[in-house]
Symmetry: C2
Subunit: 191 residues, 2 copies
Amino acid sequence: MADSYHHGNLRQALIDAGIKIINENGEENLSLRKVAAACDVSHAAPYAHFKDKEELIEAIKANVTDRFMDKLLKAIEGKPTADAAIIAMGRAYVTFFSKNPDYFVFLFGKQNITAHLKMNKEYKGDYPPFLLLRRMYLLHLEENGLEKTVEEQEIELIKIWSIVHGMASIACMKGVKSSFNWNDIDERLLT
Amino acid sequence: MADSYHHGNLRQALIDAGIKIINENGEENLSLRKVAAACDVSHAAPYAHFKDKEELIEAIKANVTDRFMDKLLKAIEGKPTADAAIIAMGRAYVTFFSKNPDYFVFLFGKQNITAHLKMNKEYKGDYPPFLLLRRMYLLHLEENGLEKTVEEQEIELIKIWSIVHGMASIACMKGVKSSFNWNDIDERLLT
DNA sequence: GGTACAATCTTGACAATGTAAAGATACTAG
DNA sequence: CTAGTATCTTTACATTGTCAAGATTGTACC
């Protein structure tokens, strides 16, 4: 691989550079030209790998979501019951965004989680964290011998997700000063 | 008021034009120059009323938040108990953003609710919808003769707000297709 | 090996945008 | 009526996303 003209793996380099910029300078400072410059490449080079800026951003989102899923999976690892796993997952959910408010804004700021899901076929159109939650929830029903209609299940799932996602959202609000310690969620908060 | 040079009430006109653009073309199409053009004014005219684009946006946010508060206040109007008022408020909260997803993104997209609060001194640094919720919650404790520590109160308040705000957030996600009818929230969802 | 083709990257250009500086116009206090 | 202030225009510039034309490199095929 000649280092001179062809970069080698510019696509991934652009994604990494994008994440770095978001981490260090916030999303508002992410521009195609800066990402390109960070990779020592001309300002139009990204167009060989991404249709437009949106497509690069979606690729970055998919990357961040993968890291997010890693945290969630690691959190439920080895938990004895589904209940414990759900609690741990909720904790990890809020903690992840509490530590990285920029990621929350970046992932959900435009409220459009579909696009970067379509890229990862593996996800089959459903939001991975939600799929994981549903799996744990069904396990919870099984473990406790509970029977619920599909509608009841959906309502409870939405409720759990709403609490956790809402807490993450509120925790990320710069204006909300609360004595609440988001990194150590009280169990009374989770069901 | 001479119509030729001085506009008369350009400040409010810019805010109104900004809201109109967001409604019709989405937030991504809101630019200072377009707002100025919509008011038949040169592209630098807004700088006589706003320090920068951010300040105009904050003014618009304050305006939208006022409308939001109107809906919430109208929702709890005439409710017999605090419990009923809280349910009604939650419903109105989700309904408002379910009908106007663009507003949700606009208000919370950058997760910064402080700035436009500082402009409305009246709010005294707390988020108005949250203040209203707290008032209703304290009324609820009083009506039912309940005693809670401040910490317990805070946790319950955050929990209620998280559910409602989280539901609004999820309802606004374009990717989430759910059989759930956000405009007619099931009571099982609210406490 | 050499040649056509595709992938990748560069250069140059353009329009939209935020913003600053300098000046024109209208309003207002004295 | 005059000086000053608020408001608005004009001009200018840097940043940005995007496109088009061309240069460079890798690859498939003979």
